[in-house]
Amino acid sequence: MSAPAQKRIIFQHIDEPGYTNDLACYLKHGGYEVMKRSFARPPQELIDEVKKSGLRGRGGAGFPCGVKWGLVDRKSGKPIYLIVNADESEPGTFKDRYIMQQDPHQLIEGTIISCFANNVKQAYIYIRGEMAEGARILEKAIAEARATNFVGPNILGSSYSCEIFVHRGAGAYICGEETGLIESLEGKRANPRIKPPYFPAVLGLYQCPTIVNNVETLCHVKYIADVGGEAFTKIGTPNHTGPRIFCVSGHVQRPGYYEFPAGTVTMGQLLNDVCGGPLPGRTFKAVIPGGSSAKVMRFGERYKGKRKVGTDMVDYDWGVEDVPMDFDSLGMIGTMGGSGGVIVMDDSVNMVEALANINAFYSHESCGQCTPCREGSLWMKKISTRMVHGDARPEDAALLKSVADQIPGRTICAFGEACSWPTQSFYLKFKDEFDSYSEAKKTLPADRRVLV
C-alpha cells in the first residue's frame, strides 16, 4: 500500500514559494484572525477546547497539553509564566527551526492564545544558542506584532496585556529538559530540578506556576483554537490526535520533514514511499524512530501482541515496515515516538560504531549532577570508543550493558533513561554484532565511514 498524501497543517506555508516571514505576509494569509476570535471567548473555554482535542506535547514526552494546563496552580496568587521550549537539540529532530525561521508569527499567535487562555502576562521563548538567526527572526517578528498591538499592553484594545521575550541558550542540550531550562532562564547552570516538589505547573520559573510547551505544540493550539477540539480529534488516531511532523535523516534517498495525520503512515511507507527508500545498492538495517534516545528497531524483527482497535482487542504481527507511526503503536513495540526524529541506518553501518557516536553525545551533554548519569555516560562513551579505536574485547558488550542498566531510575531527570536506552537497545537487538566486534573489526574495510 502506498503512502497517503501529506497533509500539511503546521507546515502549511513552510517552503511555499513567495511566503515570507514578515507580518504583512502572515496577515495576508489570515494571520492573527484566530487570536482575535479567541479574545472574544472566555479563557476557560479555550482550555476546554485543548483538553477536548487530546493534543499531546510534541517536545518528546507526549504529555497531554490540556492536562498540563489543568495542573497549573491558579490559587497561589503568583503570576503564571509560559515558556516556549525552542531548545530543539534532540539528535534527529529538526522541525521547530523551520517554524521559527519561516513562519514565526504562527508561533507567536499560538503563544499569545495559550497565554490568554491561561492568564499569562509574561512569556519567554527559550531558543538554543546556536540558532542566532532564528532568535533574530523571532525578535523582529515580535517587534512587528508589538507595533501592531498583537503583543504588549492592552492587546487589541482589550484589558489583556502580554509580553514575549526571546531568551537564548548557550550550547547545552540539557536546557531542553523543562526544569533545566527554567534554571537556565533564571541565570544558572541548567541542572534539572527534583520532581516532586518542583513541578513547573506549581513551582516553576521564580518559584511561580509555569507552563512549558514545545514550539510545535503551541502551533497546534492555534489550530485547535481555530477549528475546535472536536475537529482536531478527527485527525490522527484516538490517542494521538492531530498531525505529526516526521524529521527523517540518515540513509534514505530523500531525507527531510513530512507532515501526516498521526498514525496514518507506517514506518515502511514513510521510509520507502515518502523518503524514496534506501540509497542505491543498500538495504535498511536499523532505524531510531523518535530522537536518538528512542530504542532502536532492527529490520527483519517482528513485533507481536494484542492491541485495541475501536472496542475490540485484535492480534498484531508486524515487521518494522508495518508499524504505524503514532505514540501508542511505537510505545507498544517497546520504543517511542518521542520528538518525531527518525534516524535511518543502512547495511553499511556497524552498530557498535553508531552506538559509540550516540554515547559520545550523551557523555558530553550530561549536566553532571547525578553520579550514575555523569559517570555512566562517560564510561559508556569510553568503552565504546575504545572498542572502535583501540582494543575491543569480547566481554566489552556485557560490560557496556551492565553500565547502562545501572543508570535508569537512579537520576534526577529523564536524561538518565535517555542515555541508557541506546546502549540497552543496541545491545539487545544487535547482540551478535557487539559480541563479535573484536573479531569482525579485523575484516571491516579500513576506509569505512568514521562514526566516532
Binding site: E88, S89, E90, P91, G92, T93, F94, D96, R97, Q122, R128, G129, E130, M131, A132, E133, F165, H167, R168, G169, A170, G171, A172, Y173, S184, L185, E186, G187, K188, R189, A190, Y206, C247, V248, S249, G250, H251, P255, G256, Y257, S292, G341, I343, M345, V349, A354, N357, I358, A360, F361, H364, E365, C367, R449, V450, L451, V452
Partner: protein, 164 residues
C-alpha cells in the same frame, strides 16, 4: 570593561526583560562575548557587579555552557556537527577537511596558525535532514561534503586576504 556604547545600551535594555536581574546572565554573556570576543576575568567581574551577583554565580555559568569562551578564538568560528545523522553521511570527513585546510585541530579554543579560524566539533545542530551541516559564525551551511567544505574554506581565506 571597554564595551561599545551600542552593547551597553542593549545590556541595559535586556535587563528589563526579567523581574529578577540574575536572569540576564546569559544574555549579558552573549552580548559581552559578541563585543569582546571572549569572556575575560574582567568581564565576569563586570557582569557580576552589573547584576548584583557574586563572581562565582557568573563563573559557574560561563564554565557550564560550551558557547562561552574563556580566551580569544579565531576570527571566524567554524562549528561542524558531530552527531549521528551528520556522521552517517560524512560529518567526520567534513571536519577533517576544515582541519586540513586551516592546518589546525578541532577544539573549543584551538586557533589556526594564521589566527583566522577556530574549528569546533559540536553536537546536533537541528538540521539533520540536510546533513552534514556546518555553522560558520551565525550562518548555517547545509550538505557540506568535502568539496563544499573546501569551497567554504577558500571563501574564508579569500575574505581574510582581502582584509590584509
Amino acid at each position: 570593561m571597554n564595551l561599545k556604547p551600542e552593547t551597553l545600551k542593549r545590556i541595559d535594555e535586556v535587563i528589563t526583560h526579567y523581574p529578577v536581574k540574575r536572569s540576564a546572565t546569559l544574555p549579558l554573556l552573549h552580548l559581552v562575548q559578541e563585543d569582546a570576543g571572549y569572556i575575560s576575568d574582567e568581564a565576569i567581574a563586570w557582569i557580576a557587579k552589573k547584576l548584583e551577583l557574586e563572581l562565582i554565580n557568573v563563573l559557574e555559568v560561563v564554565t557550564f555552557y560550551p558557547m562561552f569562551k574563556r580566551k580569544p578564538i579565531g576570527r571566524r568560528h567554524i562549528k561542524v556537527c558531530r552527531t549521528l545523522s551528520c556522521a552517517l553521511v560524512g560529518g567526520y570527513k567534513t571536519c577533517e577537511t576544515f582541519e586540513k585546510e586551516f592546518l589546525t585541530h578541532a577544539g573549543p579554543t584551538e586557533v589556526s596558525p594564521d589566527g583566522e579560524v577556530t574549528v569546533e566539533f559540536v553536537e546536533c545542530l537541528a538540521s539533520c535532514g540536510t546533513a552534514p551541516v556546518v555553522l560558520i559564525d551565525d550562518v548555517l551551511h547545509e550538505k557540506v561534503d568535502c568539496a563544499k567544505a573546501k569551497q567554504l574554506a577558500a571563501q574564508i581565506k579569500a575574505e581574510a586576504a582581502a582584509r590584509k
